[in-house]
Amino acid sequence: MGEKKQLFGHEIAVLEHSRNIIADATKTKEEVIGDYKNLCDHYEEMLDQSKLITKVSDKLQNKLNSANAALADKNQELQETIDELTKAKIGKKAATITFGLAVVLFVLSEGIFDPFIESFAKKVFIDNPNQAALIQYSTVILWTSMFGKLIMALLLKPLETFIEEYLLKKAIKQQKALKAINA
C-alpha cells in the first residue's frame, strides 16, 4: 500500500497488528489476552462506525432521492413551459402566414376574380341592353364578389389551424430528433 492514505487505514493497521500477535509464538497468555481486549475495543469502535456510516449514508441517499424527485418535477414543469412557448410561437407564425395568404387572396380577388366576374356580367348586359339586365348585372357582380370574399374569410380559420398543426408536427419531429442525438 506504500505511503498512500486509505479510508480505513487505522482499522487495517489494527487488523495487521492482531494477525502479527497470532503469528508471534513468544507472547504470553496475559499479553495475548491484553491484545485480544484491545482488538475487541477496536471491533466495537468499528462496529459503531459501520452503524453510523450506514445510517448516515441511507439518510443522505434519501436526501438525494428527494432532490432527484424535485429535479424531475422541475424538468417536467420546464418541459411544459417550453411546449407552451413553442405552441405560442407556432401559433404566431401560423397567424402571420394566414394573414399573408389572406392578403394574397384579397389581391387575387380584387385583381383577377372580380374583373373576371365584371367582364362576364358586362357581356351579359351587352347581349341584353335593358334595365332588367343592368340590375341583373349589378346584382351578379355584387353577390359573386361578396360570396367569394365570404368563402375566403370562412376558410381563413381552418387554414390557420391546418398550418398550426403542420408546424407543430414539424417542431415535435425536430425535438424528437434532437433528443435522439443527445441520448
Binding site: L52, V56, L60
Partner: protein, 128 residues
Amino acid sequence: MEIFELDAKNHTPYIKLDHTTGIMELKGRSTPENSVEFYDPVNKWLIQFINEAVTIPVIVKLKFEYFNTSSSKCILDVLKKFAEFKKTGADVKVEWYYEQDDDDMKEAAEDYSDIVKIPFEIIEIPED
C-alpha cells in the same frame, strides 16, 4: 502555526480552522473524488493544533448540505480528533447547523452526536 482555509468548490466544502479564535468551520457539499486525500491536510493541521495544547475554547461549526459515504467516515475521523482533544481537558463543542425541513441532515447530526463524545448542539437555520 497558520490558519487553515480552503474555499468551497463544486464537490468540496469551505473549511476554516482558526487556532486564534478557536472556531473550526466546515460547510457546504462534501463529495470529493478522493475524500481521504482531501481531508488529510485537515487531519494533519488538527494533530498539530492538538499537540500545541492550545487553551482556547473550541467551537466546531458544521453546516453540510450533503456529503458522500467516504466523507461521512472522514468527518467522523475529524470529530474523533476533537474528541481526543477534549479528553485532554480542552473545552470543545460542536454546533451542527441544518436547513429548516432538512430532517435527513438533522438525523445525521444526531447519529454523530451518539458516537462522538463531544457536546453537540444541533441548530436549525430558518428559511429566508
